[in-house]
């Protein structure tokens, strides 16, 4: 078990959510239109879960070569709002053999400044 280098992201902005909506094609208005987020009982807009998974994916490709990634699975916990600053943490947990290759297994998590968990996930990379 070894810790991977923590990665700090700048604060999420409303503009970033609009950009991510366009880039990803996810135009669910709860991510971009404040009155709709309020109508949905979310107290404003919330970030796309996939944006948060994308940030943790950025960390994975910084920790390991992108092409060695074999599995990446997450569960979304708390919602993220504009203004929050997220940190990505990861650790390796062991080694396995799968599909005739040796792989490192690990965990990744994303938290805000208050330590609230946004996403937790597992990954496998070829060694």
């Amino acid at each position: 078990m070894s810790e991977l280098k923590m990665i700090k992201k700048p604060g999420i902005t409303h503009t970033q959510l609009v950009k991510y909506a366009g880039a990803s094609g996810d135009f669910n208005p709860i991510h971009t239109v404040v009155p709709i987020g309020e109508k949905a009982g979310l107290d404003g807009v919330i970030a796309h879960g996939m944006l948060i998974m994308g940030m943790a994916g950025e960390a994975l490709a910084e920790w390991f070569p992108r092409k060695d990634l074999r599995k990446y699975k997450v569960r979304f916990s708390k919602m993220t709002r504009p203004g929050e600053k997220l940190t990505i943490e990861g650790r390796t947990t062991g080694e396995i053999w799968e599909d005739d290759e040796k792989r490192l297994t690990g965990e990744v998590s994303v938290k805000n400044e208050a330590g609230e968990l946004k996403l937790s996930g597992r990954f496998e990379v070829k060694i």
Binding site: S24, D26, G49, G54, M55, A61, R66, K71, Y72, F76
Partner: protein, 150 residues
């Protein structure tokens, strides 16, 4: 809105051609400055055929390729204001780079209700242009307050 019978939901295969500009746009939106997503020369130097897709780029392939939010809402009869993403999994079997055309075959894995939440899981198999399996994506969406008679 009348929802379709769960068993009757038909998810159609679709194709998508990956462009360098779309990868760059996606990486920029995340704030991911990894040079392999921006410059084909750097990507080749690192051993890729062309600019590779970021790990979560398949979501853009799915949303822009045919399984967008509006389509899912309609297919499953969901209340758009109550839908959240519960979890996501990717398994990577082969490289996908700019210039590739992938064929995506979505299947409904499960759909059930538990404690007033509806869980829908969709699995998508990706093949490249020569028919090789390159990726599997599995997405679980949750509809809050799923009981329509509340």
């Amino acid at each position: 809105m009348e929802s379709l019978l769960k068993e009757d939901v038909r998810l159609k295969p679709f194709r998508f051609t990956i462009e360098r500009g779309k990868i760059k746009e996606f990486a920029m939106a995340i704030g991911d400055s990894n040079p392999i997503y921006y410059d084909a020369g750097t990507a080749r130097k690192e051993g890729y055929r062309d600019i590779p897709i970021p790990p979560t780029f398949p979501t853009a392939i799915e949303m822009w390729g045919g399984l967008d939010f509006e389509t899912l809402i309609k297919l499953f009869g969901l209340d758009p204001l109550k839908v959240l993403h519960g979890g996501q999994e990717y398994r990577y079997f082969g490289e996908i780079c700019a210039g590739d055309t992938v064929t995506c075959d979505p299947k409904l894995i499960s759909s059930f209700e538990k404690r007033n939440l509806r869980f829908i899981t969709i699995g998508i198999h990706y093949k490249n242009s020569v028919g090789k399996d390159v990726l599997y994506s599995e997405s679980t969406i949750i509809e809050r307050g799923a009981s329509k008679n509340e």
